[in-house]
Amino acid sequence: MRWGVLQFPGSCDERDALHACSLLGEARLVWHEDRDLAGIDAVVVPGGFSYGDYLRAGAIARFSPAMEAVAGFAAAGGPVLGICNGFQVLCEAGLLPGALLLNESMRFTCRQLDLIPADPGADGPKSADIARFSAHRPRLSIPAKHGEGRYWAPDDALDALEERGQVAYRYAPGQNPNGSARDIAGVRNEAGNVVGLMPHPEHAVDPLTGSTDGLRVFEAIAEARP
């Protein structure tokens, strides 16, 4: 498995994501001006404050050459994982539905919390990760840290997401740190190969620094094929 981790000016967690990916295969950084994803099997759009997050989080990064390449990669079925700012970028780019708004508390919040890989949709499990999570590991201990992570989409769109099994992760009951609609922490596209989540699985890959549950999130995206 060869991973590519995007790097924008203002990215913060790209080295952490690179490290996490390197535990599961080969990994390299992809500079934001680079369109070449040759040889890359999965892309991670990492956390941070791309372009300072001025205007709106992720609003400028989506126009980078690298993101154009990622859009093509995703359309061809390549697996893409957006973490925190990366999730915001994917939403801004229209690769994922919805938007991420200012936390209800209006404060940046950094906290270890439990994530629940979301229930399958009405048609049954869409990808292997959901089935495995439901079977083996109902809760993942993963930190979240963001100021703009309140997931929002119109109610009918949320209904449709749930119906189609596109809610990838929810915050455990009572642990929603930002006021997200329906406790949604992460979503996937309809095809299932593009996933975004606010919490940081790359900061949960080492027992010394917290937990290793984040590795499950990377493994799941690696297997996510339409």
Partner: protein, 80 residues
């Protein structure tokens, strides 16, 4: 072609929770401002543009996120 000065006002769409607006609204009674409601906090972008016809597209693509934000374009040079 002479540049036109314009102002774009961007605010959260109706129905979207606006914690900043809520916080401002909540602070008002303690300061003696009664009877104020429905506060929405947005942002303003001032710019000079050579082709004002493209302002709408600029707002749709970058300045605002049409999913969650409304915008208004105001020409400042009396151009209407």
């Amino acid at each position: 072609m002479a540049a036109v000065r314009a102002r774009v006002l961007i605010r959260p769409k109706e129905g979207i929770l606006d914690p900043q607006g809520k916080a401002v609204e909540g602070a008002l009674p303690a300061l003696g401002f009664e009877g104020i409601g429905h506060v929405r906090v947005g942002r303003m972008v001032e710019l000079e543009v050579e082709d004002p016809e493209r302002l709408g597209e600029l707002c749709e693509k970058l300045l605002a996120n049409p999913l969650i934000e409304d915008y208004e374009i105001e020409r400042l040079d009396g151009g209407g």
